[in-house]
Symmetry: C4
């Protein structure tokens, strides 16, 4: 069992590397199968092949989950961990609804398998740490962004409601314009046509430009901090390692 | 009265936390009520409900304002403070125009209630400080941005005026194109069609790209400075606290 | 004459502040007059008023130039300085073509007056210094950006030429698409419709996204350096001032 | 031979500077010739001139390649180096297909000549170093970006498939919308029209905005690190130079 844990969790031995790659290939396969599945003109044969590929992935994921559960040091903690739940959600709905009708919901659940990729990635921790450092700032910025988007929607509603009642009929519809404009996507399906609305958009964009650039700075400095914390920890680790080896 | 001040301003006791949440819920309610109000197809019943919700919010805001006024250490300073004015503006117009006709103006005034959210937020101070640090830079950048937008409008007017007299009829109309292009929104309602105009836009965008990225750097470094000042102040505060407790 | 120089160049005395504001108002007036001038439906009276306003601005700018020339310590250096040339270009064409026909060219020359605003601004120096620090980097980035834009144009020409011969008829036309896409403006007048072109754009945007963010980082760090150099210089200055006063 | 190497590789002597400029002009000439070549309405004379210009460039590049090969200290290493391969690829296909039919493939190969410009540029090294420092981060970010784009495509497919089956017919088609939206290009050829799709896009853009700003921060800090390493190396170099001169 300890050997199995070694194979599944440490990615240093040869065996575990093979398993690591096999699992990733399976995830990609399941993903491609799901994506191809949505093509409108598919022959019944292709559909059947996709169904079989899907089933194979499901079986192998189930085996993987059971092996991990068996090998886990603390089984309860594994089941409750983030990836334990993700792994379970990726397979459980199949068994619960097997032979039944609803397949739509499963599709979205299966997408969580994608996050498995992140599991093996060390950098994930740094980003997670940066997010923790930025927690308050990001929440504040989100609030400011949402308020700006809302106020922009109210403003444009005022200016464009009478001129374009079909496109700026309510603040809800104006919110769509507001977010598409402030994120500089600008599809071109809704845009102001009155002089007042254009002047309002002009002022809004000049100010909004600065607003959009704030998170870039926040993330940059937080990642810098997170990297420094990482370095300090890495400095500490080898020392511990030396003590361990002695 | 001191107790009341404690409840309303310090957010450490249980009572004040409840009040804090109640006020926030009220603001959100007033906001939602206002937003729903603009929907074009509303039944008279719905309108009446919204009117009552609105009235309830107004009453509670009035009570809150009077309580805050009563509890304030320096009443004159409270009335003149930013949030004192905002709170008053959120309720006063109702009483001044009650039973009268004009309701349009009030709507925009009521939006100021949104900024109440920021009041309780500590991060607000850091951003305020960062803005103070950047005051001169932001003003300069704003000037550069406006001049660039204007020059771009003059340039495109020159190139596109003859080819698209309805879209680039004057520099005022060209300014609309200019701001939509330089902020990379690009609705697609106006764009150059002449070769000269396209070459001009080409050069403008290659240069403008760099211009847009300037405030990002400014804000990032200013926030970093503001955070350092904060740290220094936080270091100073506990010492003061210790002295206070002795 | 020294007194006149003091008034025109130091902005500490009261008189010079008034002159400073008058000149700025004149620039804005000349600017607004020029902008209004382009409106298609103007009455002859309005046109005449604008002409007179224009003439007044011209006269006052001429007086200012002559006064500056008279007051300058080194007249030749003043004439050859950047703002000396700008000031001259803003007025000279009027006198050269007075009573003659061509007015179109003048318009663009007059826009240079806008840069006069920057003259009084101290921050300008910091940006100039940051640009000097970034000289090589910005040139390199510009080269990379241009090469990317060009390669993107060649790529899309390959994919879309046959499908949309009117929009992607040559690499020159593709360059327009290329710059509009890579700067994320996306007017929507030209976009790929073939699968190959869409996949190409997909890959290009994922990579191009990173490219666009490079100058932001460059400018941010250069401005930081420029500010530090400024601080060091400011520290040095007062000491020198003290020595000077002794 | 050593003299030839000096001329071709060190850009300090006069002769090598001339050669440096001649080669760059040739690259630009070949580039312009290729670009003009794609114009749809070209007279046969123009085509012939372009063909001759092309041939001349090819000959001179071949001569350059042979001279470099002759002058190289280690010929095998030169052939296997990045620019050795690029130089060969720029000329070899001509000789292999001379007088034959297929010219399309060559065109794209010839574009690699553009990267020759980077060869002489010192800054290239700094960016290369910054990329090395960011290797892991950029790979991680690329993965996150791709997963986000994919999940966005799946989400919008769910919401818009029934309403716009021609534009969101499969996840493959949705991916096009996804990348165009998340990079804020927003052509306007595909956009959500259902309320669910709009709300989904709203949430996606608010979050995606932050995602797009991450690489800016990464590149900025990595360039800063690369510059510091450069400074340390430059400090080391002169000392070595002194020792060398003694």
């Amino acid at each position: 069992r300890i050997q199995l844990r070694d194979i599944l969790e440490n990615s240093t031995t040869r065996m575990s590397k093979i398993i690591y790659w096999v699992i990733h290939c399976l995830i990609i396969t399941a993903l491609v199968s799901f994506t191809v599945h949505t093509l409108p003109e598919l022959s019944p044969t292709a559909k059947q092949i996709l169904y079989l590929v899907d089933l194979a992935c499901l079986c192998l994921f189930s085996v993987e989950y059971l092996l991990r559960l068996f090998a886990a040091e603390n089984r309860f903690r594994f089941v409750c961990s983030f990836f334990g739940i993700v792994d379970l959600l990726a397979i459980l709905p199949y068994f619960l609804t097997l032979g039944l009708f609803d397949m739509r919901v499963l599709r979205l659940l299966r997408l969580l398998q994608l996050f498995k990729v992140a599991r093996y990635n060390k950098v994930f921790k740094r980003y997670y740490r940066a997010c923790l450092l930025l927690r308050v700032d990001l929440a504040f910025f989100l609030a400011v962004a949402l308020i700006t988007v809302y106020l922009a929607a109210v403003g444009i509603y005022h200016f464009e409601n009478l001129a374009q009642p079909d496109k700026f009929g309510s603040i809800f519809q104006s919110l769509w314009w507001s977010v598409v404009t402030l994120t500089t996507v600008g599809y071109g399906d809704v845009f102001p046509i009155t002089t007042g609305g254009k002047v309002f958009t002009f002022v809004l964009l000049i100010i909004g430009l600065g607003l959009v650039s704030v998170p870039a700075g926040l993330v940059a400095s937080a990642l810098g901090e997170a990297r420094e914390i990482e370095k300090v920890e890495e400095k500490g680790k080898p020392e511990y390692g030396e003590t361990h080896e002695q």
